[in-house]
Structures are given as C-alpha cells and as structure tokens.
Subunit: 418 residues, 2 copies
C-alpha cells in the first residue's frame, strides 16, 4: 500500500529550491504505486507540527513544472530547529501523530545545515519511537557550506549573479572614474564562509582585467592593508571594485556591520558592511564611492540562474525520492564532481549523521596569499557551477513565475501550540 510523502522547505530560500521541489513532486508522481500524495508543509516543519499540510496533488502538472523556473519557496519556509528528543519529546510525538493521521511514510526536508539536523532527528524516529519513517534531506543553501556534497544547490546561481553584477558594476565605475566615482563596494551574503564573496572575483578573467578586492569572512579585516590594496588599484586602474561579505569581521571577531538583532537560531542578523567600508574609504582615501547591497536580490535572482545549478537542484529532489523508494533513511543525495574540465558530476550521497551541524569552510588554498582574492584552484572549483543560462519564460516583459494554489488538507487532530 502506497504511503504518502511529506516535503518541506527550510531556512533561507534560493533561486532554485523550487527546482528541487519540482524534482521531488514530479518523481513521486511517476511512482504512484509506492508514493501516494505529496503533502507539502506550509512554512517548513511548522506545517508538520501544526498539521498545516498542502495537497500538492491539486496542482496541475504545468504549475508543478513551472516550479523549476520559479525562485523562492513555493510552500513557505521557516527558521525553526527541532530541539533534541530529550529536550522536547512533545514535538516529536506530535510529528508522529501527524504522520500517522495522514499516513506519511516519507519525509523530505529541503534545506541547509540546521535543516539537516532537523531531518536527522526525524530519521531517528523509527528506531527511537517506533514509527516507520524514511527521512531524506535535500541539500540547499546559498552559503555552500554543507559537507559531503561538492556544492550546494542555490549557491551556483548566487555565484553567477554576484559574478555578473560585479562585472557589470565594474564596467560602470570604470566609465565614471575620471571625474566621479572611483570605488564601488558591493555587499554580498555568506555569514561564515566566503564562498559568495569569492564569486565576485570571477568578474575578472583573462579577457577582463578588473581590479576586484574581496573581503572574506575568513580573513580578519586589516584596515591598513586593505587601504593599501585599494590605493594601489586606483593608482593603476583609476578605479577599484570591492566585494565585501556580510560576514567580514575585525580581528576581535566583531562583524564590520552588526545590526544588533539575531535570528531564531541566535545568529546575528547582518547587513550594512558596504556602507561601513565605503565610509572608511572616504575617511582614509577621500575617494568618491558608490555602494550596493545585493541582499535578497542575489538569492532570488532566478532571471539569471545558473543552468548547472537548476539542473542539480532538480536532480537532488529526484534522487531523494529515488533513494526513498530504494528503502534508504537518514541520508542526503549529494553532488559528486568527477571532472573539472570538462565539468562532469554525478549523484552520490552522505549519511545525515555526518552532515547535520557540520559547516564546510572554504579550503585555505582558495584564498590568495594577499587575502583579497581567489586562487586558480578556487576559480577551477567555481567556474563550472555558474555554467549555462536557464531563462524563465516572460510575459509582458516580466518573468512568469508561478504562485501555487497551496490548498490545505482537512485537519484531523487537535491544535498544537509551538
């Protein structure tokens, strides 16, 4: 008898997380003998806890296919991490109640490190609480910081957007530098790892001699050294582009720009490193500057997503379902790079116990000796991930993204307060 599946999106959404959703749902629909309905959690795991389940079988094949080119989280996401079984047994018991009530035997959770932890905890329910469930994590994070997988779906598209935006803005400031702006500062995401900031360095290549100075979270900010680098670039090129990670920090670990607020996981909410850097440029070098903050635009920019990324996101969703059908539990499909040039990859997997709460940092040899750019090894790693364009369809000059009906199923249980 076919069991139903639960699918949910977690954490910060991306330009391609819906492509994974598309992969999950389309693949599940092909296996109606083993998987009944796919219920999506409205707003991630919260949808499971509150029995707020979306019946994706009510969505047309066309609308599900449109998820492949629609950014954001179509079912709503959440920032919510399950506590340990010891600390909050009530939540796990509730999950089991909901799964039982709706005959759910498959649990697909699409997210980053915190979500892998949640998924791992759910995967233990069989053993620890006797409820038979197969929990598979579908990797997603623009931060590219999950272990085991060569890269994370979501990252390649942000990298492509940042590389292109940095090149375009650099062309702009180069045009203006004679009498006006000489410095452009672009702030990008990446709280602890400099993967996204590194992508800014791709603006320059053998045909594009562009001075890009990157401020990585991995390298403690040294104002004097930084100003010397910028000054040297301005002397040589008459302009300089700076890509600063939101996670760039001083020697003592303070972020260049804390806003003083924290998210539900206790992470400091960042934003504002660019104006801080720009202000320093004014103080120390007295050069005219402009600054931009890419914020949500960078991770939502489906209009210029990387085709490689879109394909891989879909493949991870598809593989998750196939692994479930294969009887697997507590696992995550992963992208395994088999060659750099030409770039080839295949689907592998990792155990959730090895993935949950592990943060993959950039290898040290990816940052150049000066601390402000990337090495050839880093470039070889990054370039394949931004390959190919995968334009969405347009109507009236605007991308035709889908908004699903998202109809909930009737609730059978009592209310649950989170």
């Amino acid at each position: 008898m076919a069991k139903n599946a639960f699918y949910a999106q977690s954490g910060g959404v991306t330009a391609v997380i819906n492509s994974s959703a598309c992969g999950v749902i389309e693949t599940a629909r092909k296996h109606g003998d083993k998987i009944g309905k796919v219920y999506a959690g409205r707003n991630g795991i919260i949808g499971a806890l509150t029995e707020d389940l979306i019946d994706t079988s009510l969505e047309s094949a066309e609308d599900i296919a449109a998820l492949r080119y629609t950014p954001s989280g179509a079912f709503g996401s959440c920032r919510f991490k399950l506590k340990s079984l010891e600390k909050n047994k009530r939540e796990y018991e509730r999950l089991i109640e909901v799964f039982k009530a709706h005959d759910i035997g498959y649990f697909f959770y699409n997210g980053g490190g915190d979500s892998a932890d949640t998924c791992y905890k759910v995967s233990q329910l069989s053993e620890q609480m006797g409820y038979p469930i197969q929990a598979i994590h579908v990797p997603k994070t623009v931060d590219n910081d999950l272990p085991v997988t060569d890269n994370c779906p979501g990252f390649g598209s942000v990298a492509k957007y940042i590389a292109i935006s940095t090149r375009e803005a650099s062309f702009d400031v180069r045009s203006m530098s004679k009498t006006s702006t000489k410095i452009f500062v672009l702030e990008v995401m990446g709280r602890h790892a400099g993967w996204i900031a590194a992508a800014g360095a791709l603006a320059a290549d053998k045909d594009n001699d562009i001075p890009v100075v990157v401020l990585f979270p991995e390298i403690k900010f040294d104002r004097e050294k930084f100003m010397a680098k910028v000054k040297a670039n301005v002397e040589k090129y008459d302009y300089c582009t700076i890509v600063v990670s939101e996670g760039a920090q001083y020697e003592d670990g303070r972020f260049l720009a804390e806003q003083g607020t924290r998210d539900d996981f206790g992470h400091a909410q960042l934003g504002g490193a660019a104006p801080v850097v720009a202000g320093m440029i004014r103080e120390d070098l007295d050069l005219k500057f402009h600054w931009g903050v890419a914020d949500y635009m960078q991770r939502a920019a489906r209009h210029i997503a990387s085709k490689t990324d879109v394909d891989q996101a879909y493949a991870m969703g598809q593989a998750a379902v196939e692994m479930a059908l294969d009887g697997k539990n507590s696992i995550m499909p992963a992208i395994i790079r088999t060659s750099n040039d030409p770039y080839t990859w295949e689907v592998g997997s990792g155990e959730l116990k090895d993935i949950a709460n592990v943060e993959k940092m950039m290898p040290e040899d990816y940052i150049s000796k000066c601390g402000f750019s990337i090495t050839d090894a880093c470039r070889e790693y990054l370039v394949p991930l931004i390959q190919g364009e995968d334009y969405p369809p347009y109507e009236n000059g605007m991308p035709k993204y889908v908004t699903l009906k998202n109809e909930g199923i009737p609730q059978k249980l009592e209310k649950f307060e989170i």
Copy 2:
C-alpha cells in the same frame, strides 16, 4: 570633403548607452562619403578639451557591434558641465581649436539634461564664434527626466531590472514571513523624479498579488501614514515590500539619506535611504526586515536589459547621425509613442533650446491617491518600456562584454588645463 565626427558619453552611464554609440558609429561608417572618422572623446567632453580623442576606426566591426550588448560607457564618461560662453570663453575657444585641428564637423553628445546643456552650448558655436559645427544630442538617462522624448534610453532597462528584482525579492520574503523576515526594503535610483521607484510597482500585476509600497521623491514622507500602510499590508499578506527612491524626502526637503557629499554639479550624493527606512520599521513596528540597495547594479544590468530599450538606444544613435547628414544642428532625436497597446513608436526630434536644463517630472496622475503606488495610467506608460529580453552572448557562464582598444590619436595642440 567628408568631415570627421566627435562622439562622447556623458553623466551616469547605463546598460544601453553603448547601444547608442553602436548606432552612431555603425551609421557613420555607412556614410563614409560625408563622415570621415568618428573620434570618441575619452571621458566625455573632457576628451575634447584635452585633445584626448579615441580613433574608433581602429575598432573592428565585430567589436563595435558588441557595444550593442555591453553596458557602461565604452569610451569613459564624465560629470563636467561647460560654463556659459560669457563665463568661460577659453573652453569654447579650445573646443574650436581641437575641432579645427582634427577636422571635426559633427558633434554627438550622449547624455541627460546637463549634457543637453553642454551640447546646446556647442551648437551655438557656429553662430557665436563662426566655427561650422553641427551638434546633435543623443538622449540617455536612467532618470527618464528629459523633455520632448516620450522616454529616455537607459530607463527601460533599469525599470525592467527593478520590476523583476522587486518581484523576485517579494517572492523570497513571502516565503520567509512566517517565522522570519516580513519586510523587504529596496532602495532605487531617481534623485528628483520617481520613475524608477514607480517601476518597482510593476512587480505586482493581475497574476501577482504582491504588496509593494513605493516611496516617491514627489511625495513628502509621512512616517505615520507610511507605517499604517505597511502595517495593513503585513496584516493582510504577512509581509510587505517597500521600494524607496534615493530621493525620498521629508516635509522640509531633507533627503531620508544624505551622505553629506556632493557631486561636481552640486547635487547631493545620496545612498542609504533603505537602511533608514528599515530602522524606522524596527522602531515603529518591530518587524524583522531585510534591505537591499541596487545602486550601480540597476543601471549596469545589461544581462536583463529591455529589448525595447536596447532598440531605442540604437535608434537614437542612428537617428542622430542621419539628422546630422540632413544638415541639422542643435537638435535631439526623440522617441515618440504612437500607440500604447500594441505599443508603437517612431523617431521624432526636439530643439536643444527646449531640452537643456529642463527636467520632466512624473505626471501627478501617475501616482495613486494614497501616495504609495502607481495608477493605471502610469502602468500603461511603463509596461511597453520593459518589453522584450535582449540577452548578451555568454562564455564560460559570464556575459561576453567588449572592452575596446580605445587607442588615442596623435595630439597636435598644446596641453590644456581644465
């Protein structure tokens, strides 16, 4: 005997100003009997004053064609406004010396309102100083504030970028709102006129019910009214997107975010309205927010330029040369809209005396009564301008923009200090 032409780019550059350059140069090349070489001013009019002229005839047809899809100003731009003939006769005499030395009979200046003023002054040299020159202004400005022309090349592409980015970021915040971000603030350009901010409202349409609140420079900022609007949206939608113009200002005319610096024309240098608005949201509503600043990215985003805009920019360059060949002086080609639906337009023209230093504001009936959105009339005006995509070619995942050789011609005159 064929006279040479001078072409230069002025003011803030755009995603399509090089498409106009392409139109000028390709059209001139077709009329070798009347136009000799096209010399480009390195960094705008400064190139003419300092006799720093680029020989565009040394660029291949392929590279000139690539200008059509390359953002920024290929020859460098400048912020430099000629004083009046009475105030600085020396500069005009110098221009004539340079024109004479290089047999220049045509002057094409590609810019906005300040540049139209410079072009107008040059166009008077025939009459006032006896040097025969035909000066034609090629319209360009993301601010869309030139009179006579229905719209300005450069604006349509920014509008498209902002409309798309606002839609994408809105999808993102909608996904996050349950447990995290409920407010996204996007800061856009437009110092005095709200054209670009208005484009943010295009994120919503009949198929996309997105709550977008626009802060126009035309409407004095009323914090209480604004907060009430945002609060109502959050109550209804659980999230709200805010598009704030860099020119948004208080009742007393102060900008929400002055950086305290001014450009060479005395205009206050802006930037930072988004964090100011975000800070107010925190104070008054205590909602979690994110904010972005599109800055140069918006005007350099050739990767998602409007095809209509690219075509019109080219057509303006082409028309400028044709008008010159037709014996015209002190004129600007213009875009004349002949129908809204289907959108049709043709090339018209205006006299520089009616254009220089005239700023076209948004019609009052383009802003909705509440002051936070656009009317149907505004939508009808804007939508045609963002029609069509015109993707640049890609290589290795990155747009293949051209950087010209930009070889200078030998100087014949003595140095000139500006």
